[in-house]
């Protein structure tokens, strides 16, 4: 077993809701409500769940783009939420983020080469005359042609922009990259290109990924382990094969059965969940999933299920397992 690179212990992130004439805090959106997991060096942990489940907030709180509300995050045993600003800044190049939307995450007035090289220069990791060569080298690794270096973002397609986003993260020689829905806005033929690129880079450079996605078929392809989130909590976590072959939580089972499969002959028993996700500002008591769970019993409405290991690193939080 390889060593953990990231350890997250009981992490919580609440966003205040302000209201009234004095704009006082009148409640909290419990975006992340106590999650615990580790990410081992060189693996891809995927966080899956529907919109509003807190998966992106986890990704951003881990690299301290958001300050935590409670809990701990360790990067190589360093508690990153206790670091001073200048200490954190030194660590920043090692932890990078790639965003979902390649259209809004690039500055339209900045040449692509400058956008990719900016951080390297800013962190004082390279001299100006070496910069251009390094940028071009990174662009080539990411499948961009060297003559693209002086172009502006609007001249690129979605897939190419996502390559720029990856190059921008990669040039800092990071160890850990949070990939927040990196292929969701891309067409199928381009999506496959980017997924292959990410997997190649991981192999060549021993990168560790936190892959945030709602697309379970992509997750099954790319992950080492998978964690399923619902309303701010992890409800199930296991190795990729274990989770997809033996899902235990009713929510995981419903999610898997809801994914359309491109085979017109396939007849499946589909679990259709009733209703919508409740608001994270006012989550249900007991098991948060009980309002939509087809198997809910009395105990589910009253007690929060324990998040326990059912063997072989397969964790699940459900009274019925």
């Amino acid at each position: 077993m390889s060593e953990p690179l990231i350890e997250v212990k009981n992490l919580k992130k609440y966003f205040p809701i302000r209201g009234g004439i004095l704009q006082r805090t009148i409640g909290y959106v419990k975006a992340v409500d106590g999650v615990t997991f580790t990410i081992n060096k060189g693996e891809t942990l995927s966080l899956v769940g529907e919109s509003g489940c807190g998966k992106s907030t986890v990704g951003r709180t881990i690299i301290r783009l958001y300050d935590k509300t409670d809990g701990e995050v360790f990067y190589k045993s360093i508690p990153i939420h206790n670091l001073k600003k200048n200490e954190l800044r030194k660590l920043r190049p090692k932890m990078q983020l790639v965003f979902q939307d390649p259209f809004s995450s690039l500055n339209p007035r900045l040449r692509v080469g400058d956008a990719i090289g900016e951080a390297l220069l800013d962190h004082g990791l390279i001299s100006r005359n070496e910069l251009r060569d390094k940028v071009i080298e990174t662009m080539e690794i990411c499948g961009l042609a060297p003559y693209h270096v002086d172009r502006y973002p609007h001249e690129f397609s979605g897939g190419q922009r996502q390559r720029i986003g990856i190059a921008r993260a990669l040039i800092l020689d990071p160890e850990f990259i949070v990939l927040d829905e990196p292929v969701s806005s891309l067409d199928v033929s381009i999506q496959a290109q980017i997924i292959n690129l990410l997997m190649d880079l991981q192999q060549q450079k021993g990168l560790t990924y936190l892959f945030i996605s709602h697309d379970l078929s992509v997750v099954e392809h790319i992950s080492t382990r998978v964690a399923v989130m619902y309303l701010g909590n992890i409800v199930e976590m296991a190795s990729r094969d274990e989770l997809f072959d033996h899902p235990l939580h009713p929510y995981t089972q419903a999610l898997l059965s809801a994914v359309p499969i491109p085979d017109p002959d396939l007849k499946r028993e589909r679990i259709i969940l009733e209703g919508d996700i409740p608001s994270p500002a006012n989550p249900p008591k007991g098991c948060k999933f009980h309002t939509r769970c087809p198997l809910a019993k009395d105990i589910c409405r009253e007690q929060v299920p324990e998040y326990k290991d059912v063997g072989g690193g397969h964790f699940v939080a459900c009274h019925l397992v």
Partner: protein, 327 residues
């Protein structure tokens, strides 16, 4: 066999931009039969939405213009109708739902007002009749507490609920055809499953034709009777759903099917189609897929392949099948 409800005949919809002419829909022909679900698949910019908007005559002009072809709907050429005649078809005989249910509802009108409007305009119902019909429709699309929903505003509803309301509005006048443009793209998978289920149910109950536009081949396999694949403004393949998935012909269709990761089928590496969709401006006379195609021959770079059909009606536009298949 049911008769054709819609026939696109050599439809050409072009956009005149500063950079040049974008042939968004370039000589497209296919039909939709009564009660049939036809899925139009393709990647962004392939012209699938513009085809649907041309049928509704909702192409903004300028810059867009339908420059050629015919669209026969229920025996009439849509493109020759007056604006007043067209208005009687739109929302009445043809309903349409869009990808983004938030932006397609009016934020300052209640849900009730928005469902009642087409009923009062097209069906000449009184306010009272329209109110009752609206409540019935809301129940039909699976939303409880219909009376309360009638007086709510769109922002008070979730994305899935808003899409259900859109479906209720589109169904209000009992259309013969429902056009759904990426109806579940903005929704979560569990909500998507609900909406697809609802569309399937409603279609069966009403024997209504459905033209569903999507990029998701999983959805196509689930709901379609017949599939039309588009690439860069052209139909490159069409066939009944089973035939298309089991026996796809065009290298692009095959590539799309292979490039998509599938749940339960793990593979080491995904197949990729190299390159990207060509710039739609200034395309010449050659197969638009030729520069990405691993089977490309000399002729592919010189002439546009025509859509040809095999004896079972499976159609493909590709030089690989020329000669084998008849025009």
């Amino acid at each position: 066999m049911a008769k054709n409800l819609v026939e696109f005949r050599n439809l050409k919809t072009f956009f005149y931009t500063e950079e040049g002419v974008v042939k968004a829909v370039n000589d497209v022909s296919f039909s939709i039969r009564e009660g049939e679900t036809v899925c139009v698949v393709g990647e962004s910019g392939c012209g699938k939405s513009v085809t649907a908007l041309s049928l509704m005559r909702l192409i903004q002009s300028p810059p867009g213009k339908i420059v050629g072809g015919e669209i026969i709907f229920d025996g009439r050429d849509i493109l020759k109708l007056s604006d007043a005649e067209m208005r009687r078809i739109r929302g009445n005989e043809i309903g349409m739902i869009f990808q983004e249910p938030m932006t397609s509802l009016n934020p300052v009108l209640t849900i009730g007002e928005q469902i009642m409007e087409p009923l009062m305009v097209h069906k000449l119902m009184t306010k009272k009749e329209a109110w009752n019909k609206a409540i019935e429709l809301i129940k039909q699309v699976g939303i409880p507490r219909a009376e309360q929903i009638m007086t709510s505003y769109p922002h008070e509803l979730s994305g899935g609920m808003r899409q259900r309301i859109m479906i209720a509005i589109a169904l209000s006048c009992d259309p013969k055809l429902l056009i759904a443009d990426e109806p579940t793209t903005a929704l979560d998978v569990t909500i998507q499953a609900q909406i697809l289920d609802l569309l399937r149910k409603i279609k069966q109950e009403r024997n209504m034709a459905l033209m569903l536009i999507t990029h998701d081949l999983g959805i196509v396999a689930e709901i379609a009777d017949y599939v039309v694949v588009m690439y860069a403004g052209k139909v490159i393949e069409e066939a009944p759903v089973r035939e298309l998935f089991k026996n796809s012909k065009h290298p692009y269709t095959r590539g799309l099917l292979k490039a998509k990761p599938i749940i339960g089928q793990r593979q080491e590496r995904l197949y990729t189609i190299p390159g990207q969709v060509p710039n739609p401006i200034g395309l010449g006379d050659y197969c638009y897929f030729s520069d990405r195609c691993e089977y490309a021959m000399d002729i592919c770079h010189q002439k546009i392949p025509q859509l040809i059909s095999d004896e079972n009606g499976h159609k493909v536009a590709c030089w690989l099948y020329e000669g084998e298949w008849k025009k």
